[in-house]
């Protein structure tokens, strides 16, 4: 354990800041060093990225046709 060490339970709370590029340089270094020697955390980061990617594929439902029509009617009234 060096002065640069970071525990797994600390790393998991910093993943979003890491992905946003928002960690201070010292913390980022400790994060990267930890990743190099810890498969569990490397996998955790991969899971997190996959999670973000999956959420990015969520699409909202189609519009309710009656509500859509109300909006189009509003355009006729106000346009």
């Amino acid at each position: 354990m060096t002065e640069y060490s970071m525990d797994c339970n600390e790393l998991v709370e910093l993943v979003t800041a890491y992905l946003d590029g928002a960690l201070d340089p010292d913390t980022r270094t400790r994060f990267d060093r930890h990743l190099l020697e810890c498969d569990g955390c490397a996998n955790y980061l991969q899971q997190f990225r996959e999670t973000v990617r999956t959420v990015g594929q969520i699409r909202d439902d189609e519009l309710d046709p009656a509500f859509r029509q109300r909006l189009l009617d509003a355009f006729k009234d106000f346009g």
């Binding site: 909202d60 519009l63 355009f75």
Partner: protein, 211 residues
């Protein structure tokens, strides 16, 4: 950039009173507007009213609309103001509430205790393993997508809004902070908790689904 060019064409058509252009914009933006509006008001019906008022505000103000900001950012910012004016629940206490919560986003029992040689590290029998490759459209990919969607809908309201705006709709951190009037730090806390909850659900799902 083609999307931006296309949008400026639609806005120009809208200025000329083109109803088809309006319908296209409505179809493109309304579902996500409803998703976000719902976080501010107590019912789906009121969310629809808020979204409708927002579109009327655009129709009335289209001549003054500056295409410097993207239409989507404009729509969301106007809509959130309308939702707040409609008597959205009081939120002054939320920043304090966000800061007060200090629990972890991963079950603490997955980490070794203080009596271990490596306290705070993964317990050997519960180390995360990489999620499998799931091409978009594959069966497992669709199942994971459905599980992620169910969990997103269940998230506490502010987490759900932040995760939707950032990860589903692609707004960046600065835009989300401005839209929701929250600090960068709190935006990140909400985003992280929401993502971590979805990650946990996907991990559970994969543990059950794959032998």
């Amino acid at each position: 950039m083609t999307a931006a060019v296309e949008e400026s064409k639609l806005i120009a058509a809208l200025r000329d009173g083109d109803q088809t252009a309006f319908a296209q914009l409505v179809d493109r933006h309304t579902p996500s507007m409803l998703r976000v509006a719902r976080g501010y008001v107590p019912s789906h019906e009121i969310a629809e009213e808020v979204v409708q008022e927002t579109w009327i505000a655009l129709i009335k103000g289209i001549d003054g609309f500056e295409s410097r900001s993207s239409l989507r950012t404009w729509l969301f910012s106007v809509m959130i103001n309308i939702a707040k004016a409609r008597g959205a629940r009081e939120r002054r206490d939320t920043d304090a509430a966000i800061a007060a919560y200090t629990g972890g986003t991963v079950d603490p029992s997955r980490f070794r205790g203080s009596d271990d040689a490596y306290p705070g590290h993964w317990r050997p029998d519960d180390v995360p393993s990489a999620f499998p490759d799931t091409p978009e459209g594959s069966l497992l990919g669709r199942e994971l997508l459905a599980a992620a969607r169910r969990e997103l809908d269940k998230l506490p309201e502010r987490q759900r809004i932040v995760v939707s705006l950032r990860d589903m709709l692609g707004f960046d951190s600065a835009q989300v902070c401005e839209l929701l009037d929250i600090s960068t730090a709190n935006q990140r806390v909400l985003l992280h908790r929401g993502r971590a909850a979805v990650r946990q659900v996907l991990e559970n799902y994969l543990k059950e689904a794959t032998p």
